[in-house]
């Protein structure tokens, strides 16, 4: 078991023939992900990386039965790519693109919700179920199979956490980077709930960061809904107010969204918080 993705997902790549799309699609294929084709407008009919290219998602779905998409389309067109995927009946879209205007993303998410398409991202590393399916830009080989569900706003912190988890002999059921933008698709709550229901997942590692309110909401949700042990970390305790820390969403305005506030809320919800990302493995060992 795992959550959201496994070897059965039939995946297409939107922005397939672009530089980024090509590079990462190749990596995903090498990992064993079931990439069935790609979409690039006006390039339909070609073959790329040994897979068929289609003009539209709708055609790709008709021809290949695809149910999942990974989006590398540039920011100005990415929201439209999400609309197209939702319109074509795709059920999960992983959006790698960084820099989508929030107004566009609000609209795309509204429509995706209406069409029951889940979104991971945007501006995220993607999702991986080790040894089965990688839909993203993360290095596959640092994710070892195991029983820890990993969810994070940050890409490299996901890798760091996964590295620590495997360095102490544990592994990952599924790892998801939900992205650090102000408007994102799946949030902590939905993913936590899936991990809670997933038999394979025994422990959850949650990595948040400053900005926004998602961790506070997660804390509320955890209190009454999550029974599995959670290890938590919030990045950005030393970040100054009013400055964007790389991610568009990682900004403290007023006193809201600070690491301190989030850490406190999660601790009160029973999450085992660590002060340093280097202590995730220690905490994991303590819990077992």
């Amino acid at each position: 078991m795992s959550i959201l993705v496994n070897k059965n997902n039939k995946i297409i790549v939107q922005g397939f023939t672009g530089k980024q799309g090509t590079f990462h699609a190749e990596q995903c294929i090498a990992y064993g992900s079931n990439i069935v084709g790609g979409v690039t407008p006006n390039k339909g009919g070609q073959t790329h990386l040994g897979k068929p290219v289609f003009n539209t998602v709708s055609e790709a779905v008709k021809q290949t039965g695809a149910d999942t998409t990974i989006i590398f389309v540039p920011p100005y067109f990415a929201a439209k790519a999400i609309l197209e995927a939702a319109n074509a009946g795709i059920s999960l879209a992983v959006v790698i693109t960084e820099g989508i205007p929030f107004k566009d993303m609000i609209h795309a998410k509204l429509y995706a919700t209406k069409e029951s398409m889940k979104i991971i991202g945007p501006n995220c590393p993607g999702i991986i179920t080790p040894d089965e399916c990688k839909i993203g830009i993360m290095p596959g080989d640092i994710f070892k199979k195991g029983n820890v569900g990993l969810i994070s706003k940050s890409g490299t912190l996901t890798y760091e956490a996964s590295h620590q988890i495997s360095s102490c002999g544990y592994g990952i059921s599924t790892a998801i980077g939900i992205g650090g933008d102000p408007i994102i698709g799946l949030s902590f709550i939905e993913v936590l709930s899936m991990f809670e229901d997933d038999e394979e997942t025994k422990t959850i590692v949650l990595i948040g960061e400053i900005g926004g309110n998602l961790e506070i909401e997660a804390a509320e949700f955890i209190k009454t809904n999550i029974k599995k042990p959670i290890i938590g970390f919030i990045a950005g305790a030393t970040a100054p107010k009013g400055k964007r820390m790389g991610h568009a969403g990682a900004i403290i305005s007023g006193d809201k969204g600070s690491a301190k506030e989030k850490k406190k809320a999660l601790e009160e919800a029973g999450v085992h918080m660590v002060d340093s990302v280097a202590h995730i493995s220690t905490m994991l060992e303590n819990l077992h």
Partner: protein
Amino acid sequence: MNIHEYQAKKLFSDYEIPILKGEVVFSSDGAYEYAKSLKGDIFAVKAQIHAGGRGLGGGVKIAKNLKEVREFSDEILGMQLITPQTDEHGQEVKKIYIEEGADISHQYYLSIVLDRGLEKPVIIASLDGGVNIEDVALSSPERIITTEIDSLIGLQSFHIANICSGLALCKEDSKVFGAFIEKLYKFYIENDVELVEINPLIKTTDNHFIALDAKVSFDENALYRHPKIEELRDIEEEEEIELEANSHGLKYVELDGNIGCMVNGAGLAMAVMDMIKHEGGSPANFLDIGGGASVETVTKAFEIMQTNRKIKVIFINIFGGIVRCDLVANGILGAMNEIKLDIPLVVRLEGTNAKQGLEILENSGYQNIVAISDLEKATKKSIELSK
């Protein structure tokens, strides 16, 4: 992206949002001349910097005659204005806004801002303007009316009716204030605004509603659709060095400490800063070099960090994923060849080909490079070298 009050008011007037007559000037002579052209016998002299709370730092003065206009302008122009939103050094004032006076009968507050949790814009209106809205939210939340606008329906007349009724406006005022909100919402939506805040929004004794202040910031990601707004960017207001970093695809924020950090990934970069602090050190910056670690990128990062004289050691933390650590190591050495670094370098490499990368660094012959694979040990080493 933030803009100045005078720029925001210019945009407001394009949307027929009422403002007072005013103009930006760059000298006290200019201030005097412009004030002379205004009717009335009272004038506002307002420092134009992006940070809020200008009044508290002495950046906004009311002149009762032309002589005072000149005096206050002289005072404010060139000052290092310190406000609750600047750092302790303040921000140099290079331009001021001269504005006519008004007879105020009441001060309201009005803003439209993206609520990330709701994923909708919200209109926030308050009976109390001219004060800190967060204080009002704490002391008398019932005086603040918050209205969510679902993008499926946009601003509707019932939203406006609810706001006006919440503010207990009379029928005539509701009409005028309603029209004000409509125009402001149009401005918000059409320009990918992230925040527009009017504090205070005044009602004059002759029953006009006027934006007395104006704070606007735009969605950086959407500026490509608004080239004219992009032109309003005031690079003097943004940290020069941060802009320079940005233009090379690096994300950089300067801090107070003495350990320069160079990390791939925003989350990891924050986590490294936190870890340094947690272990008793002090980070000099946030620096995310993103996905690549080429000779050019690393060289640029070194150059940027060299501008900060406080830095005693540079801590490089790269988690090799798609980027292989051996290539990163070569990138670092290439940059070392370009730039003479006379401070120590602690390099922690982990992930793909980490071992090879560390070996390359160890065998490089550079005495000031310490290569370590353990994150915590590397952090402690950096702190040790920074003391």
